[in-house]
């Protein structure tokens, strides 16, 4: 499977088929789970991220992730959350950190809403805002790829719409891979789509083709709603 740069690739499939597990293999987050094993290669810029001398922590800076449930750090303010990755990593001056924080919040489409509330606890924002805050937090460390694990499933339709708009904007600068259980969402935002079933990657292709004329029967069954 290949994820095209500056494009959105969606992972679809029925629940429990392994999409979340798979996407966590792409930033080596999966190995934090006890008893987890990975085989095969994941090539990022031509290099296998699972090579023995590769530091998973480095990889996660370059491949960011946003989760299903918004998880801002509760003890930190909005701005602190946005720059958490930068500050906890150290090495940058305060003004530079603030600049990048603002940039990230703008990039996440959140700046106008929070610019007067930067010192409030992150948990006070609405669900949709919290998720965009998490996106800002991920963007602040300037990754090249952004993984999103069902970013809208815990949000209301209005917030979902805003995040989908955001995704459309982000793809100009980032490579995005989105897991979604919502086929329509994949059809709306993704350039490429990959269908997974029972832990197996069944088919990958241009979104329009996957939905209009899939090659595999299982794909066809899923996208036409015969099961799901």
């Amino acid at each position: 499977m290949v994820a095209q740069p500056r494009a959105v690739t969606a992972l679809i499939g029925p629940s429990g088929c392994g999409k979340s597990t798979f996407i966590r293999c792409l930033n080596r987050l999966h190995e934090e789970v006890r008893g987890a094993r990975v085989s095969g290669k994941v090539l990022f810029d031509g290099q296998d991220i699972y090579a023995p001398d590769v530091d998973p922590v480095e990889i996660r800076r370059r491949i960011g992730m946003v989760f299903q449930r918004p998880n801002p750090f509760p003890t930190m303010s909005v701005m602190d959350n946005a720059v958490a990755g930068l500050r906890l990593f150290g090495g940058l001056g305060r003004s530079e950190i603030r600049e990048r924080g603002e940039e990230a919040l703008r990039g996440a489409g959140l700046w106008d809403e929070v610019k007067d509330r930067l010192d409030e606890p992150g948990g006070r924002l609405s669900g949709g805002q919290q998720q965009r805050l998490c996106i800002a937090r991920a963007l602040a460390v300037e990754p090249e790829v952004l993984l999103m694990d069902e970013p809208c499933s815990a949000l209301d339709p209005a917030s979902t719409f805003r995040i989908e708009e955001l995704i459309e904007e982000l793809k100009a600068d980032y490579t995005l891979i989105i897991v979604t259980h919502n086929m329509q969402q994949a059809a709306r935002v993704a350039d490429w789509t990959m269908f997974m079933l029972l832990g197996e990657m069944v088919e990958v292709g241009v979104t329009s083709k996957i939905f209009a004329s899939p090659e595999d029967k299982r794909t066809e069954d899923y996208v036409t709603g015969r099961f799901g």
């Binding site: 001398d53 590769v54 530091d55 922590v57 480095e58």
Partner: protein, 328 residues
Amino acid sequence: MARSRLGDRTFRGVSALAAVGLLGLLGLMLWVLASGGSRAFAKFGFGFLTGRNWNPVFGREQFGALPFIFGTLVTSAVALALAVPVAVGLAILLNEVHSGWLRDPLAVFVDLLAAIPSVVYGLWGLYVMKPLFDHRVEPFLTKTVGKVPVIGALFRGNPNGGDLFTAGVILAIMILPIITAVTREVVAVVPRDLREAAKALGATRYETVRYAVLPYARSGIVGASILGLGRALGETIAVSLVVGNGLGIGASLFRPGFTIPAVIASEFREATNIGVHRSALLALAVVLVAIALVMAALSRLFIRRSAKLISGGPPAGERERPAIQVAR
């Protein structure tokens, strides 16, 4: 690239050390006590546990710990007999009776009871409880329950001076909070549906508790009691002030007695290593540890059984028992 790995490894290693250190601590403690006590065990063998004479005078050394084992068991038994019913009643009161204004303060009070240092209990026990018991309670009991055949033998005897009964009562007050706390948790885990089903049938509160709650909580209550027992067995200071420091073994609760922790506290200063005295005290400590270990294991077992009976979920007592209130 390896920097974060190094940081992770170091941190993990250091914290693992602190955790594994606990293993080392227990191991060291057992080893020190066992090797220290070995001389006494070697010299007196099994007689250490069954002998009734305890004479530390050098040259005529005799170390039989039976009076202390007896005293320890008796005071703890009295404590349990008094504390468990009240603790269960209290736990049910706090869980089942829904009149808010007294409930929360009461719960707080009982928790604070657990925080009172044992030396304060001891001081109060010595100067308030003991005179009261000596002059009023015990003579009263002698005159009433003391006349009853068989059981009465427990309540006859000279009421003056510290005795096993007074120590037992003070222990009861001290172990009340822990038994209550664990019983509360065990009772709280009994599912609402059971209670609601009983109530829907028209059961009174008594019947609901008796038929829909207690059967499931029974094992847990036993477990809670054993926890309390463990604490009672190890209590030193309060007991040593009111127990009378006597060495006899007899039927009456009103005679002075001695417990294992109390004798250790009482004699450690004079225990030299020339004879076997020091070793004997350490051997007593070993006995205490062994009993505590058995109690801990048993209580775990019973609390687990109660939880399994209810849901098969994680044992309530284990999960939420405040790690802070335990043996003194």
